[in-house]
Each structure stands twice: as C-alpha cells, then as structure tokens.
C-alpha cells in the first residue's frame, strides 16, 4: 500500500515538474523519501536481471547501445535516460513506467550508474551483470584520484553473480576483473593491437599505480570476445562472436567503437544462444544520438558540430579523431569544470587556432592556448555575446562550425540557441 502511495506521490511530482519544465530528479526524491525500498522492489523479479554499466567515460552512449541491441533482439528493456545515473534520477525514470504494484514489467533493466553512487546502488539493486568501460582521469575535484574509482568499480563488479564484462585494454579494469571472487563469469572486449597503436593517444586510460595488487603484465593478456578490428571515420568493423560485423558509429573516434564492443560483448553474454551478431549493426543504425555526444546542432539552417569536453580522455579522443582542424572553432568552459589545469596535458595539435574563447574560465583557456602556440581570435567570457559573434561568422569554406564546450556551457548554449531562434523568428 505504502509503495502505491509513494508511486502516486512521485507521479504527481513528476507531472508538476513537467508542467514547470525540467527538474527530473525531484519526482525520484519524492518516491525514495516515501518508499525507500522502491528501487529494490521495482527490479527484484525481472527475469533477465539488472545490468549496470559504469566507468569514467561512455556510460550513456554504451547504455544506449546495449539497450538498442537487446531491443533489436526483441527483449523488453527498462533503462534510465542518458546522464540520469544518480539514485534520484534512476527513481525518476522508474516512475515513468512503474505499475502501481511497484514492480517493473520489462524483462531486464539496463542502468547507467555513476561510479561513486554505483557502490550503494549495487547493494540495493543487486545487479546480476556489470559492464565496466574504463578508468580515466575524470572529475578529480570529486574523485580526487583514479585509484578511488578503481576500488568503487571493483565493489560494483563484486555485486554481480552472472556476468562481468570488462575492457581488456584498461589495465586497471583487468586487475579488477582478476581480483573478483569468481561468482560471476568474466569476459572481455577490446581493440586490435595494431589499431590501438595507430590511435595518437591510445584510449587515454589511466595509469595503473598499484591498483589491486595485480600487475596485468604478470599474467597472460585476456582474450576479448569482441574486438574492434578496423576504423575509418564513423565506419568500423568488429569481430563479434566470430563474425566480422560492419557498424556505423554515432560519431568519429575509437572510443565510440570501443563502446559498441562493450555493448555487444555484454549483449552476447546476456542472450547466449539467442544472440545474433548482425543485429548489432542494425541496432547501431537505429540509435538516437546521445545528447551532446558527437552531436550536430542546426541553427538558421547551418550545422554546428558540438564536441563535449567532459573530461581529459574524452576531449583527447574527440580531438584525435577530428577529420581536420576546424576552420571555425569556439571553445567555452565554465565552473562546471572547476579546475581546467588538465588541459595542459591535452594534445591540441589537431587544432590550429580558436576563433572565440568563452565561459568563466575563458582567460585560463586563453593562457593555455597561448602556451600551446594556438592563436586565439578573441576572448569573450560572457556566453551570449560570444555565441552571437561566433554564429555571425560567415559559413566556413569547408566542414562545419565547431564548438568544444563543457557540459554546463552546452546546456546554456542550447537554451540560448532556442531563445535566439525565437528572437529571430519571422
């Protein structure tokens, strides 16, 4: 009874916040406050169990891919929307499809979970399988050091009793997999060694310092079940369960191919004999772009490519796989990136200038570009005039206008573009 009341209250909150626009975590908070066991109850009878997807980078993209592959196989999947990877976000997502008895009707829940919150979520939701993508330098202001993330992911993986699927090219994760007590079956996905060595900065995974005491060099390298064999722009070939499969990636970059490999490897484990490699290719073609990951915004009929500067590794790989130095480039970073010092470790050789630098960290970025011998056209910390000046540039002679922005600036830009569109409406 209590859970039905909680669900109704949560739904009311959901309806109220929708009317107001935004605020998607609030209904989840209401649900969890009234019925703390709501999450646990929602998923405990799902026939194919609960799958967690975690790691520093690619959680949203890979979750989206895994859901797509499972659905292509006819599986009824529950998932949380991209980026909603904290408990209240997951609870909010549950409200949207939860019957009043509080038990999800789908066959499987595929959930993207934050590395830190995932530790407690794994105790509540008891994932049967866990897909771990990578350990990279990310949010040092929050995580302090990569080793803490390694330990968090080890705890999350330890909760699984069916499958743990791990990136074979991430030494920290290989050590995590080898430290598991053996309740779950471990399998790997990875990149062909020659292809990996062609990548200018590899996969930008974090160094292993001491990790869990296992040095991966001591033992034979894991044999991945899914391997990225070839990459050309957004076209990639993967060996999946013995078959060569051509896939179209959502955006350029080896990291996206690795995300497909992780999703395919987990799908193959979950589905067993029912898994069909060719459905990975069709699922990739049907994917919606995950918000702000290799996204194209259209403004006044002009395409603008948005590269999200989420953290050092994702920025590095996005830069490494630019087709050419953008003719027109806008870079904006604000307090969503409290310490942009790490941009001194970024290889910016794939850009040759920046037209406009913006955001509260604009002058810090201008300093960095100055030391990198990358000319900066102008520095305009305030976003609106900076954006207007950039949009007012004539269309580039080749390619698209390109923006490298952090998440918070991207959200503001989207808002501003909508606003400007209204202003400019005839």
């Amino acid at each position: 009874m209590r859970s039905a009341v909680a669900i109704l209250l949560g739904r009311m909150a959901r309806w109220a916040t929708r009317l107001r626009g935004g605020g998607s975590a609030v209904p989840g908070r209401v649900l969890l406050a009234v019925s703390p066991r709501a999450l646990e109850r929602a998923v405990e009878r799902m026939p194919l169990g609960v799958v967690f997807v975690s790691g520093s980078n690619g959680k949203s993209t890979t979750t989206n891919m895994l859901v797509g592959i499972l659905r292509a196989h006819g599986v009824d999947v529950f998932s949380n929307p991209s980026g909603g990877n904290l408990p209240q976000g997951i609870a909010s997502a549950l409200l949207a499809s939860m019957p009043l008895d509080g038990r999800l009707r789908e066959q499987i829940a595929v959930l993207e979970v934050d590395e830190a919150y995932g530790v407690n979520l794994s105790k509540v939701l008891r994932p049967s399988s866990v897909l771990l993508l990578n350990v990279q330098i990310d949010q040092l202001n929050r995580f302090f050091e990569p080793d803490r993330v390694v330990k968090m992911l080890a705890t999350i993986a330890g909760a699984a009793d069916a499958h743990v699927v791990v990136n074979a090219n991430d030494d920290n994760l290989v050590a995590v997999a080898r430290s598991l007590a053996g309740r779950a079956e471990v399998s790997y996905f990875g990149v062909d060694p020659a292809l990996l060595s062609d990548s200018p900065n590899g996969l930008a995974n974090a160094e292993v310092y001491s990790a869990l005491g296992t040095s991966p060099a001591d033992v034979a390298a894991p044999a991945p079940r899914v391997v990225v064999e070839r990459l050309a722009g957004v076209d990639s070939t993967l060996t999946i369960a013995g078959s060569a499969i051509d896939v179209r990636l959502p955006a350029r970059g080896l990291h996206y191919a690795v995300d497909v490999a992780g999703a395919a490897a987990m799908a193959e484990r979950l589905l067993g004999a029912a898994f069909r490699p060719e459905l990975v290719a069709s699922a990739m073609l049907a994917l919606d772009t995950v918000y702000g990951r290799g996204e194209i915004l259209t403004y006044n009929g002009e395409d603008i490519e948005v590269i999200m500067m989420k953290n050092p590794p994702s920025l590095q790989l996005n830069l490494d796989y630019l087709e050419q130095a953008p003719e027109q480039l806008f870079v904006a970073v604000d307090e969503g990136t409290p310490d942009p010092s790490w941009m001194y470790d970024t290889d910016f050789s794939h850009i040759d200038h920046v037209d406009i630098v913006s955001g509260t960290k604009a002058w810090q970025l201008a300093t960095r570009f100055g030391y990198g011998a990358i000319p900066v056209g102008s520095v305009v910390p305030e976003l609106k005039p900076a954006l207007e000046a950039f949009l007012a540039l004539p269309r580039p002679g080749r390619g698209n206008k390109t923006m490298i922005v952090n998440y918070e600036q991207m959200m503001l830009i989207r808002k501003l573009l909508g606003f400007l569109e209204l202003e400019n409406a005839p």
């Binding site: 050091e145 080793d147 010092s341 300093t367």
Partner: protein
C-alpha cells in the same frame, strides 16, 4: 657559458594527472621566447639521471602514485639534494612537494621518511582541500586551484610562499578562518599546492625560477617582456582576476 637550460621533469607519468606539466611547458616556452634553448629531460622509474641540470620539477599525483615512485626517488634523492644545495631551483607541486619534505604521516599514524629537500612535513588526512585559492606573496598575488588531502607544517624558520587570502593552503581542509600560509620558499626553490598550473598562471614566479637558473649558469640574463610573454601574461593576469572575483576578493 652557453645560454641553454636543462629542465629535469620527475615522474611525469605517475605525477602528472593535474596538468602540472604546464609548469615545465611555461619554463621551456618562456625561455625559448627569450632566445634561450631548453632541453627537458623526463625522468621515469629506473632512468639514469643526466650529468647536470638547471631546474628540477616534480608534479603531483595520488598517494598510490607517490608510493609507486618512492623507491626510485630514494635512489636519486642524494643527487637532487646536492643540486638543490648548489643552487639549482626545485619546483615541487602538492604530492611531489610532500615527497620532498622531511616526512609523510599516513592516516593510520605511520610515519614515512621523505626526501628531505624541503623543511616541511605532511600529515595525510581524510578531508580534501579542494577549490580556487588566492595567495599574497612577495612577488604579487598568486592564484590557482588546490586539491590535496594533507596538513603540511613548515619547520621553524622556514618561509612560506605567501599568506592565504582565500582557500586552504598548508593547513588543508582543517584550516581555520584565520590567515594561514601556503607553500614554502627556500632560496630559489618552491613547494606549493597550487595547480592552474602554477607557473603559467603566475608568470612572475616562472621568470624568477628561470633567472635563478641562468644566474647559476653565470648568464647575466635580462628576461625582458616581449610580444609573446605579454600576450600570455595579460591572459594569466585576467585569469587570476577572474579567480579572485569568484572567491569574493
């Protein structure tokens, strides 16, 4: 004497997750902008040291990275100490500074001897000191970002880099509201918690280190401003001003 400098960059792989490599870049670039060629020698675990160096840099990293380099650092410490005593400037950032202090006390109370290049000792604590920081120094206002989990105490008589105007400094997250100190200055050598990185954001200190290194080489260098330095120094000044404004100064 040739007008060229060698910078020794210690453990860039392990102690290089906070962008501290920007300090080496700033030293190299600012010297080259003044027509002084620079060689950067990266020292990794097991590497032999060069015959002589003009500047030493060590960046910051997590505790596990500190432990990973500890044994190699113990091997090279006598040479580092001899260089520093002969006047070679050493710049040590956060975790790197801790490694070159006299001791590090773990959270469980275990005391580990450190390099002994700086008259300071660090005690690791659970609470991290994270945020933008402004420090008043003898060479102007310094700004940057600190992210460390230690309380560092200077030995009696040791000189701090400056006084904390806003932020945590050596006292770490347990810092009281009073005026704390940040960093250490010993001759021309510096230890500090500041990222940003420190030298690109605070070029007066970069030129001070370069001047000291050149002086030691017997080069009477006049590190004048030019169009290159003026451009980045203007940007850095505005970046410091933006930080000062954000922290309410």
């Amino acid at each position: 004497m040739t007008r060229s400098l060698t910078i020794l960059s210690l453990y860039p792989r392990q102690l290089g997750i906070n962008g501290d490599s920007g300090n080496v870049l700033a030293l190299k670039t600012r010297a080259e902008w003044r027509g002084i060629p620079v060689t950067v020698v990266e020292h990794n675990i097991g590497d032999p040291l060069p015959e002589s160096v003009d500047l030493v840099h060590i960046g910051s990293g997590p505790r596990t990275a500190q432990l990973a380099v500890q044994a190699d650092l113990a091997v090279i410490t006598p040479r580092l100490l001899a260089w520093k005593n002969s006047g070679v400037p050493v710049l040590a950032i956060a975790g790197g500074w801790q490694l070159l202090g006299t001791s590090i006390t773990e959270e469980d109370g275990t005391v580990v001897a450190a390099g002994g290049l700086f008259a300071s000792s660090s005690r690791l604590v659970g609470r991290r000191a994270v945020g933008e920081t402004v420090v008043a120094t003898a060479h102007g206002t310094v700004a940057g970002f600190e992210n460390h989990g230690a309380v560092t105490t200077l030995d009696t008589g040791a000189t701090p880099l400056g006084t904390v105007t806003s932020g945590f400094g050596n006292a770490g997250a347990a810092a009281s509201a009073g005026l704390g100190v940040e960093g250490i200055v010993d001759g021309d050598s510096i230890g500090t918690h500041l990222h940003g990185p420190f030298l690109p954001m605070n070029p007066a200190w970069a030129d001070r280190l370069l001047n000291a290194a050149l002086r030691l080489r017997g080069v009477d260098a006049e590190l004048a401003s030019n169009e290159h330095t003026a451009r980045v120094d203007d940007a850095a000044e505005k970046a410091r001003a933006a930080i000062a404004k954000r922290v309410g100064i």
